[in-house]
């Protein structure tokens, strides 16, 4: 996913997942960081928090889970018609075949983009998102602007991402207000007939699986 812009956590590679800034860091800690440390320490002091459980969850959400999983699902669907059929019929079972299950991904529905339909996913009430397939959501997905506008002016939002669609394409906006989590199956780019699954994975940016981007053509990928 080198073309995706979320490989950012250089400063916490020491820990392997989100922890606090190292005291070696030159920056003073922000008040928010100090408050978070205080909350964690106070809960540990009272026996109300398991540090190893937090670390395990963070390791999972930041490394095991992530858009590399979603991209694998997409590439598999592009190359394996039987898998694609199972994926669209029962997303939860099909992604479980690849082992991409877990919290915020128990019930998965995959929605397919075609020449006639473009899907995009939002959570207007909070930030529901398929963690096992896509990891943590991007800042824009959690923004007030996206939550407000995706369901009322989706094409204006898509235009901000450089996605413009003919008026004849039906835009479908999925508001994940219950426990179903959505993954968009983008259209396979032209000129990729000869590519194998691993090469195709690299053409699937995270945003294409939310619905605010297209899959990349091989030249871009």
């Amino acid at each position: 996913m080198s073309h995706d812009h979320d490989d950012h956590d250089d400063h916490d590679h020491d820990h392997g997942h989100s922890h606090y800034d190292s005291p070696k860091s030159r920056r003073p800690r922000s008040s928010f960081e100090l408050r978070t440390m205080a909350l964690e320490a106070a809960l540990v002091e009272k026996g109300l928090l398991a540090t190893d459980a937090v670390d395990a969850f963070l390791d999972g959400i930041e490394h095991t889970m992530g858009p590399h999983n979603g991209a694998r699902v997409v590439a598999r669907a592009w190359t394996d018609p039987a898998f694609k059929a199972r994926l669209l019929a029962d997303g939860s079972a099909a992604v479980a075949e690849l082992g991409y299950t877990g919290p915020e991904g128990d019930t998965v529905r995959v929605v397919e983009n075609t020449d006639a339909v473009h899907n995009m996913v939002v959570c207007t009430l909070c930030s529901c998102y398929p963690w096992p397939l896509l990891g943590l959501p991007p800042v824009w997905y959690k923004s007030f602007a996206y939550r407000a506008r995706a369901v009322s002016e989706p094409r204006a939002v898509l235009a901000e991402f450089g996605v413009t669609l003919p008026d004849t394409v039906e835009v479908r906006v999925w508001d994940s207000s219950a426990e179903v989590r959505y993954l968009v199956l983008p259209q396979r780019p032209a000129g990729t007939d000869g590519l194998g699954e691993d090469e195709l994975v690299a053409l699937v940016p995270r945003d294409a699986m939310i619905g605010t981007a297209f899959a990349a053509s091989p030249a871009q990928g």
Binding site: T36, F57, S127, R147, E160
Partner: protein, 218 residues
């Protein structure tokens, strides 16, 4: 509750795609704050509800992860699991000593359950006796719920079509001990029935709604 978190259709928030908004977060403490809140054993109940309870002005003024942090602090204070003094004492400790580390409190059995959960899937069970079937026209009830719910205001009073029966799930309420379950449906709306004619060609909005938010179309 019908709080500030219910943003669908609101205007005035500006652009979605802004510089750096493709990142998942900016600071390491941010995700940690979220998961410390989620994994607390203090019995905070749904953190979603706790975030919705933030004062509206605070909700809008705070970043996503500051909302998680503030909600976690508030809730632990409110239920008496922590005192303001606990938080202030530790805050001053870390402020005074940049090398101070957060103490660990391991619980290998819980960590093992978390790890197991991270690779388990628990799809919703089938709905036992759904009142509606795909193709049925339904009306989203008008309501003014003071309790936690997942029915956005922008679909209230609108007609939609049942597209999927998603399964059966616990109805979201404040009280986690309430064990009411109901069918959950994907309900499809035409943008014309939500917003009338706008600058954009008509489009489709699909929202997952519990059966108790719906009634048969008149």
């Amino acid at each position: 509750m019908d709080g500030i978190h219910d943003l669908g259709g609101m205007q005035g928030f500006g652009r979605v795609n802004t510089p750096d908004s493709g990142r998942t977060h900016d600071e390491p403490w941010e995700v940690r704050a979220q998961f410390v809140g989620l994994l607390s054993k203090a019995g905070t109940g749904s953190m979603r509800r706790r975030i919705e309870e933030l004062a509206p002005a605070e909700y809008l003024a705070s970043s996503y992860y500051v909302r998680w942090l503030a909600a976690a602090e508030n809730t632990h204070l409110r239920i008496g699991a922590l005192s303001a003094d606990d938080l202030e004492r530790w805050y001053r400790h870390f402020e005074a000593d940049p090398a101070a580390e957060v103490p660990r409190g391991d619980d290998p059995a819980l960590a093992e359950r978390v790890t197991a959960r991270l690779s388990s899937g628990r799809p919703l069970p089938d709905a036992a006796a759904p009142a509606f079937r795909p193709g049925d026209t339904v009306l989203v009830r008008r309501m003014h719920p003071t309790w936690h719910h997942r029915c956005p205001r922008y679909v209230r009073g609108a007609l939609g079509t049942i597209t999927f029966v998603c399964g059966q799930d616990r109805v979201p309420y404040d009280d986690p001990t309430v064990e009411e379950v109901a069918a959950v449906y994907t309900v499809q709306f035409s943008s014309l029935d939500l917003w009338g004619r706008t600058d954009e060609p008509p489009f489709t909005v699909l929202v997952d709604l519990w059966e108790n938010y719906l009634e048969a179309a008149p």
